[in-house]
Symmetry: C5
């Protein structure tokens, strides 16, 4: 359940803007990396003391500060203070139960999104909140734990290939969002494969565990949907927004990102439709199985019950000697054989009846 609702109640009663870290506390230390670049120069270093960053704030170069881990409140408060970030924004960064959203403060834009990963242990999808603040010449990104999908971007910056080093912080922020959305595809493919495997299994052998797997998958799509659906508004808001921080040439990339987001949402909706169809198949497979069980029972019972009755008849002890009307068949020459013939006829008749009913 933890993944559906964070324990935000911890902050209930606190003053708005009060900083409390809501979420699982990472045990790794906070790690700060700084990349400062323009088309020609590149500085890259790991930061120990957050104050080292402040000097980069007003340089003409693009500065990307990435912070892994939210447990150090003082650090974040300090950073927020120096980059003029509103306390409510800092609260949102720490409170990891946010819905994807963006806020346009004139001096900077604040974006929250969800990085989706597959937790191999719990066999379910989990998410990590990524917050991005970008201003005129800086980008600050916050993650809950170390390990992310941004390595390819770092490589592209270092290699100085492509557009990245030539463009501003708005493009870098776009690139970060794009990397996160690209990560969704990986998850969707994994889910797609699972659905495919399950659909085949449902046909061959539907067992009760299957439903729980379907249910888990369904919860995964619910979760994914909750994480991705609001992103649509975020990206379209950024694209159509009037912020001077987003340059004209970046708009087409945001449009492209928007298309990707819609594609992801489309696929999630398709998965939902397919999974709900699978529940139908499962339910009817159950009914089918019950039908089959009932048929076997009915066939055996209807064949043998009349025969057993006949056998019962001739097991009666009516006294033939007291009255010739009593069970004369017992003394007939072919009485026993005749009974067998009658019983086999009954059995044969029943089998023909079942054949005609197409029960087997």
């Amino acid at each position: 359940m933890a993944r559906f609702i964070k324990k935000i109640s911890q902050t209930a009663g606190l003053s708005p803007g009060a900083l409390v870290h809501v979420g699982e506390r990472s045990k790794q230390p906070v790690k700060i990396t700084l990349l400062d670049y323009d088309h020609n120069n590149l500085t890259e270093k790991e930061i120990k003391d957050i104050k080292e960053c402040f000097s980069f704030k007003d340089t003409a170069t693009v500065t990307w500060i990435n912070i892994d881990g939210l447990q150090n409140l003082e650090l974040i408060e300090n950073l927020g203070y120096h980059f003029d970030v509103h306390p409510l924004v800092l609260e949102d960064i720490l409170n990891t139960g946010q819905r994807p959203k963006y806020d346009d403060f004139e001096a900077h834009i604040f974006v929250v999104l969800k990085m989706i990963m597959f937790d191999e242990q719990a066999k379910e999808i989990v998410s990590e909140q990524v917050s991005i603040i970008f201003g005129k010449n800086f980008v600050i990104s916050f993650q809950e734990t170390q390990g992310d999908v941004f390595d390819s971007i770092r490589t592209r910056i270092r290699n100085n290939k492509g557009r990245l080093r030539k463009m501003g912080p708005d493009y870098l922020a776009y690139a970060l969002m794009d990397a996160i959305v690209d990560g969704y595809y990986v998850i969707l493919e994994k889910m797609g494969d699972k659905i495919e495997v399950m659909e085949e299994d449902l046909v061959s052998n539907p067992d009760p565990k299957m439903l729980h797997k379907i249910h888990k998958l369904k919860n995964d799509t619910i979760y994914l949907r909750k994480s991705v659906w609001p992103l649509r508004e975020v990206v379209s808001g950024l694209e159509r927004g009037e912020s001077a921080l987003i340059k004209r040439q970046t708009h087409i990339f945001l449009k492209d990102l928007y298309d990707h987001t819609i594609q992801v949402i489309d696929t999630i909706e398709t998965f939902r439709d397919m999974i709900s169809g699978m529940v139908d198949i499962y339910m009817s497979s159950l009914s089918n199985k019950m039908n089959e069980v009932m048929k076997v029972l009915t066939m055996i019972a209807t064949i043998f019950i009349p025969m057993t009755f006949i056998a019962g008849i001739y097991g009666m002890n009516f006294n033939h000697e007291a009255s010739p009307w009593n069970m004369p068949e017992l003394g007939w020459k072919y009485g026993y054989l005749g009974v067998w013939v009658v019983m086999l006829c009954i059995a044969g008749g029943m089998i023909m009846f079942f054949k005609r009913k197409k029960w087997f």
Copy 2:
């Protein structure tokens, strides 16, 4: 049902604006508390006679009058008269079956919302109507009973920490609403935990009582939804509204409140999805159980019915002496043993048949 529809019919036929208290009558006396503050000064007292409040109306300080209990109509009428409140508003305050809403009268803004609590006795969610009127320098809040979620706000006012003492009545009204919405999270977490427990129980032992629990939970989400959904419009209306009563710096806090409301609604929708999935699981667990019962019956019956038939055959009394064709088997040396062998073969065959069908 009382929680879904208040006995508003009591007011049918009355003139609009006629004051009738609709709702459960609290047995406690009405309690009025007054807090009057600016950045430097603070007056706090419990009011016995409502007239004491009137002098505070036009002071430059912020005055917060909180009224617990709606049973004293005269008091409310009096207060309404002095603070120029429209009779329809007074009617809405007393008629506790309101939908969350807000109305902008130029001199003041009227907001109705629902405080949600968990009723431990009835094991269900209940709500209490909170009405807030705020004007240029006063906030009046009405509650149905004593006991609320506003204590933290009182503490913050007394401590003079944070923003609260520096800002106006619009911020105080926001703080009250924020406290109520924070209260929703507590309820949502409780529900989330319940859902989690139930999902596990459904897998291990689905019993008929479970469905009633699910049904109750579903009714709770329906109720919660009804109470929270309209809040979205209320908050967004306040945020985007043009009222001069809401100052510019408060807007960002209302935006934040709006985000929280959306998050709450999102979570409720997620719960609805999950609960409806649980009904599916429950239904199929029932089918599974029936399947299992049928299998046991079928196995026992199909193994023993043919064997009983054979035993019946050799219980027949055909007279071997009358005709050598009658039941010669009875006199064979290994007849009895042979019958046992045949019967065991049938039993074995059946068991193999079931194994192949994967029935156990």
Copy 3:
């Protein structure tokens, strides 16, 4: 079905505006009452000849003409002619299968709504069409039969208390609509009580008649919804409309009426949700009952079938004298007792098996 679709086909092929009364014909005579008032004076009389009304048309006082019964076409045509009502409006008044709607003709406003009542005989909800035309200083209301929810309004006019006598025909029209909407609450409460009773009954003893009751209730909500849903647009249209006929101070009352309408719709939707949940419970209760029946059958059968088989074995007539291998048990000293022991063991084993399966 009559309540879901009126026999409008009677008018098919007629010229638009042709007057035909569609609906159940009341057997009572048409009754016309007239109330003419301003703040100081009040005239109230029952009208025999419609022409008596015409003189009131252009007086400065507010004139309310109420007509119970639509069977007198000539009367209505006459009235329509004198008050300049468009023939299509007259057609709509007579054709009682209308959807709630309003039309703004500059000289007057035409509103159609549905008065809802509970028909004790048919045990279902029925509605009556009420049409209201109000102009600069008159209100004309049409009802299908005598007996209505307007008595409280008449009393308020006579008593000259409250706002009613001080305000114009727009406020009177509002008061009529408000009285009708207040009537909805009475019906909703009745339905709410029914739902509550049913929910409890479903738990204690679900029988097949229950489903028909649920179905009837569901049809009632469908019907109610159909009657109330369009009212939302009507009221919001009147409130936001620009008509000079609706004075500024009436708008806040229309807003209040709008809130009530929304509340009614909300409650209907909630009822729909709850009723659909009840069908689920009913279905699963059926399955549960079947499960229980099957369990009893299976337990009896699985306990006795093997035992009967053993009894059958020793009922066989194999000839011990012909061969010592044939049924030596029959001659053992404790053979009979031993068979009882074996059979009791089987029964006990089965019972333990069922206990472990938690079948009872």
Copy 4:
């Protein structure tokens, strides 16, 4: 299926505007009737050669050309050419799988709608496409076959009563559309009666054929919905449209038509809701029946199986002579009677058990 999707693929690959008649080919010859009228004069004749019509095009009188049968492509092309109709419009007229729609070409307005009839043979609803083109002083209507709902309009024109002869082609076009919508009510009533009958049948005896009837009815509502739903936009488009071809005084009639269309759609939606409720009832009736069958089986089986077991016991052949422990009961004085008493007690106990379970 033909009614859900016309074989439009015939036109695939053709140039847009290419004329191909898509739909069932009528075997009757094409029939053209012409009505030319103003307030004072009326010409009515059946046309053999389409060229006779052309002279009426520019007269001041209103000309209504009605064409029954679409199989003569040349005729339609000719007509289209003389009345300046766009080839795409002609294509739409011939391709009878159109959705209701309207197009405003300045010189004329083109409207497509569906005339609904009940096919007594196939026991299902079918539709016929009616296309209407109206310009400054002409109306051309196209139908697939002879036989229509326009007779009342012809009569009204001939009688020169009502508004029709005084108004222009826009009013005639409205009257045609109104006649078609009036025809929907006839169908809806027929469906309503069917639903009512079925609901009662479902209660008294639900048999498998019932579901197919429900399914057919459901497909009928799907079909009806598909035919009527887009009409809403068409009529509201015409009403709010700015076309000079539609005079001011016609707007109120279009508004009235719009109200009728909404009423039709409302009723269809209500039917859908009711039919889906019927499927629920049917399903649960099936379950109920199964329950009843199972109860009978279980009662018979549980009463007789234990008794048969006891009879089996005393059918065993244990040798009393070999050992006094073997079946001494057989020699008791009241052994046989005692066994009967025991068996009757078992039967009675079972019956009481069933009574307590309320199984009958």
Copy 5:
């Protein structure tokens, strides 16, 4: 699953605009055909080297370059470079998991749509992405494999009949889109026929394989819907768009295309409704079958079980000689016949009981 989600994750981490072909790689070589025409002249040739095309870019004639196969990245990059196509567009062309969309770059318009085909092998619907770029005097179309629905267009160009040769590249682009949408009708008819066949089969013999067919059909509609639904926005966007590239006279054709698209979507929705109705029928047919099986079992069992019991009674060995109370019936004159009479009465009574219950 491949058809629901392409392996777009291959591109994750790449710079936006990086060219990677996502989709099944065709084994045929890339085929380029060029058609250059105006009203009087026509050049048609197969291109080996893409550079041959470049000279046609700025001629006044309309140039249509069609490329079958996307595996040659260099070729596409080259072409893109010469026709000033944005790298993101090239990426979209190659990444065949696009949603239908259009982008308006001033110099050209880019449209992506899906060509739908029925894969006879997999017995399911598959799609192929078609990308169209059209500028002032050129149209470039990209397909994944050879074989398309454009042959009729080529023929119309060669024949110089109709409008095609007289109009510009916008009309050609429209014609290509129209051909693709026409192709949808072919698929819809095929699906419609399948649904019809299935509906009949469901009635006559519902077997478990049926559900899988229904499920497959349902997945097909989900897939189709996903491919077609966004097309609506694309076409309406092009029609209402302000691009100078789309001439005034083309708008009416786009409007027509829009109508077709809506029709296709309508039909898909109708199919969805019908298919979901089929699942209901299937489920209830299963229940019916089970009912029938149960009835047979119950009838056989309830007729024979009591009779077998009676036979069992008289198979008991109570010693008549030891006591005259023991089984005197065995010595009666008509004892045996009497037992037969009793048993036949029981059987007859049971059969009458079943008749009254209408079980057969």
